[in-house]
Symmetry: C2
Subunit: 328 residues, 2 copies
């Protein structure tokens, strides 16, 4: 199909593989490139996400793919030089905290021009990419920040919900995540553990799978997260909606049950021009998985980013300031 | 304050007066112009909304305002020629159905360049302004369509909520409106009556206040609206989210009670990439009035429209494709 958006996915763990599945039926987008730590796969005619996932599971890299696979220790760099891609979804681990910014820097250094979309979670990680806004602009890149579920979907709804109020008192995001098998989301679970008392990003990242397993045994597979460092706060502050201290994020992750322990929701409380205090509530359907709520918005923002890029609008934008576009 | 957005409000019934109240505490916007059927008021230093409302209630036109008031049978035309305004909120009656488009045409014919925001409700009325998209573009105008509560706030949230799904089955908007005194919203109530079986826009518009009163006596002040012709449908279709027949709008209006008869909500049901059917729900706080939920978004979209206009982005945009900006 002509004018299809040529999409790349960086990182091919649970999130990257789900992204490939989300893309498969889309008419407006075509998955042409995937990179993981040990290699990449590129096919201008389109990659088969299922075949790529199979190879990745068997051999730990899409670089082993027979047609289009290349093993490389500089997979992103090498892919960038070779591939014709309109936009990349950065489905990369959030750890270390500097990782996303360092990958984005590689794109700038390579002179690449196009759209990048992240689903970053931590405020401090987002501050690093926010600081690169002028660099993206100068490089002719359009960078879409915080475009997953939270930050992303829920932040954007909060930004709209805020419109009913003269002043915002609080934005409270509470998420429930249920995953049948934590090993499908190893990086995500470590990122969650890093938010717990007694842990930090380095400590969580250094945990072996056995250590994670042992830790989860003690909590019955449940992670209860409060007052998390989450970039929804800085995105809503940048959008002029409220100061970051009025934004709180917490949730419960069940690593042994696909059923959500609670319904993910965001509550926006404020004062109307008439002096009334009230709360708007947005609640996600329990049947929607983390993967659906992250990858759907990410590609919606990628499509919006491509529109901006084609109009010559470069720089960094967040999910709280741009409306995602529905990808057919 | 420098760089304040200079705002005009066309129409000064219940909605226009609420708009003036919403604007009063804003630092980023200044109300400088108001027009009603019989006159206008203009003051580059800013109008006092309360004083304007008082004059309007007493004498039926802001044209009687001592400082800046002008009586005119061509109030919009005359105001346009005289006033320096960045953007107008069209707080005009939705009836007759061609009214909004004819007002927008006046702006084009006058060679005016700036931002217009409407809170149109009917699909057929919106089709008329949509058809003028190229005219707005050629005239150097940025027209923001469907930017109230519904269409507007709820449509925008639906467009974001849709991102979790591969396909949208239905978008269902159900509103509850409670107003203590229907006479404060005479045009709005007639518009609602026009949706009822046995009525149309001409018939409802022709009703005297006494006839409306008598009709409401028979229903105990309650209007129950089903399968309404509402432009949310065409906006979501244009946004590529779903075909218009999957969008339904209905609600209950209590014209004798400020308390809402039900909580206004939008439900977005779809199928995820994993084949699950689910529903996201956005519910407005009961304490938020129709005025808060219409005027807040309208000015949020006006601010967004001014940003677009300053970037040279002209033409027509809907609330489902542009993120509103929070007005401080």
């Amino acid at each position: 199909m002509q004018n299809q958006i040529k999409v790349g996915v960086l990182g091919f763990g649970g999130l990257g593989q789900a992204a490939a599945k989300v893309l498969a039926p889309k008419q407006e987008m075509k998955l042409v490139a995937i990179a993981d730590r040990k290699g990449y796969a590129y096919d201008p005619a389109g990659l088969d996400g299922d075949a790529c996932a199979k190879i990745y599971r068997e051999k730990d890299s899409v670089g082993y793919l027979e047609s289009g696979g290349v093993l490389s220790n500089n997979s992103i760099q090498d892919l960038l030089e070779k591939a014709d891609v309109d936009g990349y979804f950065l489905a990369l681990p959030n750890l270390p905290n500097t990782f996303m910014a360092s990958v984005a820097r590689q794109f700038i250094d390579a002179g690449w021009q196009g759209v990048l979309v992240d689903a970053l979670k931590r405020t401090s990680a987002m501050e690093q990419v926010l600081a690169m806004g002028e660099d993206f602009k100068g490089a002719g890149m359009t960078y879409m920040a915080g475009c997953g579920a939270t930050p992303g979907l829920l932040t954007a709804v909060a930004a709209i919900a805020a419109q009913s109020y003269a002043e915002i008192h609080s934005v409270t995001i509470t998420f429930g995540v249920g995953i049948a098998n934590w090993e499908a989301y190893r990086a995500t679970i470590r990122e969650d553990i890093a938010h717990l008392p007694g842990f930090d990003v380095e400590k969580a990242r250094a945990m072996s799978d056995a250590e994670v397993e042992a830790f989860l045994d003690k909590t019955n597979g449940i992670l209860t997260l409060e007052n998390m460092e989450h970039a929804d706060d800085i995105m809503l502050e940048l959008g002029g909606i409220c100061s970051r201290d009025r934004v709180t994020v917490g949730g419960i992750v069940d690593t042994r049950n696909a059923k959500k322990p609670l319904s993910t929701n965001v509550k926006v409380t404020g004062r109307t021009f008439e002096g009334k205090t009230s709360t708007h509530t947005f609640t996600l359907g329990d049947e929607t998985s983390m993967a659906a709520n992250v990858c759907g918005p990410a590609f919606g923002y990628l499509k919006a980013g491509v529109s901006l890029h084609r109009q010559g609008l470069y720089g960094l934008f967040t999910a709280a300031e741009i409306m995602p576009q529905f990808v057919k």
